[in-house]
Subunit: 364 residues, 2 copies
């Protein structure tokens, strides 16, 4: 049985030419201990170390203790590259996402990371700098030589559609927060349901119709909210007013809001997200239109700050955490079953009434 310290060094010395640079040998001796080193110290075979390391049965308590002691002594850590090579899996999920500047993406990512961690999976981030075909394509090809078993995409998927998405074999794909027809497995928020609830809420308060501050054209989520808004109005026999668009940012909400504020007939606005609602509130305020007395405003997302807006914002709560959780669950179940399992899972939303909505003026 070898002594603890010199183990690795001795092994190295064998390889070194006699009288080789001692400094080098010093460095190499510091290399992580391998299973073989542990085995030698514990006086067992490396296979037994492997069994202990993986918690397999069939090892005497006595032996196990010895091996564990040797591991501790040498500071042994299994080499994940070797393990992955042998097992053919990395226990890692790649997440492709465009920007982290929207609350939704971040919250979803966080939930994915937490759920994955709970399942023993790590999460590797693949940022896409610019949401263009080329960049998405690039992310996927970087991914191809990356150590992942599965991929979750948090992104508008029309960029995905045209991209010839060639995944390495056995790598599963799930798309979050997007409507990708049924080419992929999708986990999404019930955009339509949330929108309908928002529009109904305003109509129920007595508003004639509801204006819409929509998100950017290229966003599917925005598209669906806009479609659902129009449908809900038509369903109620109301005339949808002209659409006003922003780009999700508060600043764009402000600019769009200046337009809306100028129209006296506008008494209720459904903003496609809370940030734009914030900008809208500011524009209305600057134009002397009171919220909710003159104009009702409703948002979408329920970001934590929404309750501190002036006035506190009525909005549609999205359960990003649930979306993330379901993404991980879906991707893992695909991995386990190996099947493609197309289809969409919808996560419900919830209307959160606060102080920014009220009956229209003159409806006393």
């Amino acid at each position: 049985m070898n002594l603890p310290g010199p183990t690795a060094e001795a092994a190295d010395a064998t390889r070194d030419t006699a009288g080789g640079a001692p400094a080098l040998r010093r460095i190499r001796a510091r290399t992580t201990a391998s299973m073989a080193d542990v085995a030698r110290l514990a006086g067992v075979s490396s296979q037994t170390v492997s069994r202990v390391s993986n918690g397999y049965a069939g090892v005497t308590e006595e032996t196990r203790r010895q091996v564990l002691a040797a591991m501790k002594e040498l500071g042994y850590r299994p080499n994940s590259a070797a393990r992955a090579l042998k097992r053919g899996e990395f226990r890692t999920i790649g997440v492709i996402t465009f920007t982290l500047s929207t609350t939704g993406n971040v919250r979803t990512l966080e939930a994915i990371a937490n759920s994955a961690a709970r399942e023993g999976y790590a999460v590797t981030l693949l940022p896409v700098a610019v949401p263009t075909q080329d960049e998405v394509q690039g992310a996927f090809s970087r991914l191809e030589e990356l150590a992942v078993d599965a991929v979750i995409v948090i992104m508008e998927v029309h960029l995905l559609d045209a991209a010839t998405v060639t995944l390495p074999p056995h790598v599963q794909l799930v798309v979050a927060d997007s409507d990708a027809g049924n080419h992929y497995t999708v986990v999404d928020t019930d955009q339509a349901g949330g929108t309908r609830a928002a529009v109904r809420h305003l109509l129920d308060l007595g508003h004639r119709t509801v204006w819409h501050l929509g998100g950017p054209e290229e966003s599917f989520a925005a598209q669906r909210r806009t479609d659902a808004w129009r449908a809900a109005l038509l369903e109620a026999g109301r005339v949808p007013p002209p659409l006003v668009r922003g780009d999700w940012s508060a600043e764009s909400g402000y600019r769009a809001g200046l337009e809306l504020a100028a129209r006296d007939e506008c008494t209720a606005v459904f903003a496609a997200n809370d940030q734009m609602a914030l900008g809208l509130l500011r524009a209305l305020h600057e134009h002397g239109r009171r919220v909710p007395e003159d104009v009702s405003v409703i948002g979408f997302d329920d970001i934590p700050e929404a309750s501190s807006f002036l006035p506190p914002l009525t909005t549609v709560h999205q359960d990003f955490a649930e979306v993330g959780r379901l993404c991980v669950q879906a991707v893992l179940s695909k991995m386990r079953r190996g099947g493609p399992e197309r289809g969409t899972t919808l996560v419900p939303t919830r209307l959160v009434p606060r102080a920014s909505t009220a009956p229209p003026p003159g409806s006393a």
Copy 2:
């Protein structure tokens, strides 16, 4: 030279016992092509494939083309586990972070991911559910068997201090956004400078003194902003008013704001972040105290929404992107040099004057 399709299958057939299950063989044939497969198809040795794959010199243009064609035909992708095993590095950086619900952490993370990607490194996320010793410890031990070459911690580091941080050998550590004495390499925002600029700005406008809505006690960042606020006042010969605390959230800012709004002598408040400033604005508004006519408010962070607050918020801009970039740079340079390189790098801040600050009332 073998034909394209059957290559892998043939190799498998050799291993299979004659007449073995064809279904199984089918599946195994779908396995990713290896270098050997490519080599066989291209009619070269696998070492030549390796050379092409890694862009090494010493391969004829003719041969290279053939190899590339074979790779394409087989859909070859280098196996990153095998590569990592051989090279002893993963080209991956682990990021340990507590919550992703603060703008700063997220923006820093995003910058880290982007910078890392540019250097050919991937980023693996290690969320810490609760900021306790145990959890941090847990993240580090999970990390120990994770495939990373370096670690960046975005977290209040007092949790790190006591934790016996045992990293695998050769794994480098850099801490972002924290003040960790000089135990570690730290990249941080110039909290003190930003705070001083904020306080000066208010004093220059004519305010007697500046109140402070501080962050939570357990945060070093908050601690330093509070210290710097007090120091800046004392330096100017003013008396620091009692400290009011929040927990970074808008809601806590609102609650604390109710206190401040009740005090007529309070004409200027420095909030430790923009979210709390938002809550403060709401509290002041509800108490009929106008901003900036009656009370000036200044924030910290410059979140994108700050320009859309009511009124648009004067604040201290933090360059999170730069912090992230420098973290990656620091960690890579440590890896390359191998040295410990303790010390702190400070990233400057910038005051962004908007509409929430003005001279105190009665100073016409």
